[in-house]
Symmetry: C2
Subunit: 266 residues, 2 copies
């Protein structure tokens, strides 16, 4: 999916919501455990209930890998079920030396046909480039993450700037606003103003709103650019809104609440 | 596998060789492509041919994920085939916020039963801790990698030290020499002396000898400690030594050459 199509979808749905499918099998409603593929059944219901309210689904690969072969199968089926016009993210946080990153790009852009993948920057340019080299796909590089541990290295002062600022600046020169996005945690909403001085045009993938405490109003105020330029991910608050028979309706109600608020910021 | 057993294996085999199973299906001998699971057949032959010469096998997960479900199955079968006394490494370079890293730990330590996993440090302590929390398993954190891109961020000066030195120092306080190792690229052999001033006791996993140009003599001279304290990984030079019917014998010959050299350093 290209940038124009993504922006058009955001404007027409009045939403920049990404629903995170962090589908932990121990947290899904127990009545689904009798299904052949409980995780896929859960995801299918969530997708049916939220697809008109969000513009993206983010599959957190860890929750699928934790179940081995069966999990990988649930991931394939879930990805295939997501409607074509919705932007898909493999939240996989991969990154390795060049010939290995090329294999990860194959895994998520060919064997699976995600629109995008999240990538860790620590190994530098030749670890990121193989993802950027795939046409019509997006690479989403970790900039400033939403967890407490982001203070350990990302916030270190390296020369004139913090490490995460150096990451944003340097990585942004390896691609462009049509193939590169950045993860910027919502728990640092006040820093978005500074980040927008480095990244004027790029889309930001913003986790940390909801369960992790970030404010949608703040990230929207400080992070938006002329093309909106952001996807706000919410996972647990939506998908685990209820653990009962009404889980899909409850997920829809949460997504609707967030989308309605987003509409006021557009 | 605990530290004592690993050291004992190194001393009895006179080897600190780790064979990297970066099994690219496009590079294996063509006669194997008729087998039900060509990648597993290849790995099985390599394991049969080298298991008395090496102390560890490292499975580079990217090459398996690139083939989707079939690849994941080849990985499971390969892991199950590796003899119990040999140290297994999931070279997966994972790392995410706490609840997600917990899922990755489940994936590689429970669904699959690797002895260890490689982890990227960028997201900090709460992204690494869930791996360290699993008893009798090892976390191998990226310190200084062997690729050109290591210069982009790892070599940045952050305060008094380079970023990778801060990573080694800080991460080493989160675990101990019985559950934590570090990746240090062999192409930087002269830096191993400095690294040993930070990490006296820890095992180092050293990639980059062979195809990437590092010298076994140099890394052994500068990197060894009283307990040897290193695993040197070689992948392509061994497993793709020949693309003919003799691929396993050729792999053994390469492994033997390396093991013989190692014996002289012990």
């Amino acid at each position: 999916m290209n940038r124009a199509a993504l922006i058009e979808q955001i404007r027409s749905k009045k939403s920049y919501l990404c629903v995170g499918l962090d589908t932990d099998i121990t947290k899904i409603p127990t009545h689904l455990l009798n299904e052949a593929d409980p995780v896929f059944s859960f995801n299918r219901s969530i997708i049916d209930a939220t697809q008109d309210l969000c513009v993206s689904y983010k599959i957190n690969t860890a929750f699928y890998e934790a179940r081995g072969l069966k999990g990988w199968e649930s991931m394939e089926k879930t990805l295939a079920y997501i409607p074509e016009h919705i932007f898909t993210i493999a939240d996989a946080k991969r990154g390795d030396i060049g010939n290995t990153s090329t294999q990860y790009a194959k895994a998520f852009f060919e064997a699976l046909s995600f629109d995008s993948i999240t990538v860790a920057p620590y190994m530098g340019e030749d670890s990121v480039k193989p993802f950027l080299d795939i046409a019509n796909k997006w690479t989403i590089v970790l900039g400033l993450t939403s967890n407490a541990g982001s203070a350990d290295f990302q916030m270190l002062t390296c020369g004139e700037e913090k490490l995460f600022e150096q990451v944003l600046r340097k990585v942004s020169s390896w691609g462009n606003e049509n193939n590169l996005m950045f993860v910027v945690g919502a728990t640092k909403a006040d820093q978005l103003q500074e980040i927008r001085k480095i990244l004027h045009q790029h889309f930001l993938l913003i986790p940390g709103v909801g369960a992790q405490g970030g404010s949608l109003a703040d990230v929207s105020r400080y992070g938006m650019n002329a093309d909106i330029g952001m996807l706000v991910n919410v996972s647990r608050q939506i998908i685990f809104a209820s653990s009962g028979l009404d889980f899909a309706e409850a997920a829809r109600a949460e997504a609707e609440k967030i989308q309605s608020e987003m509409a006021t910021y557009l």
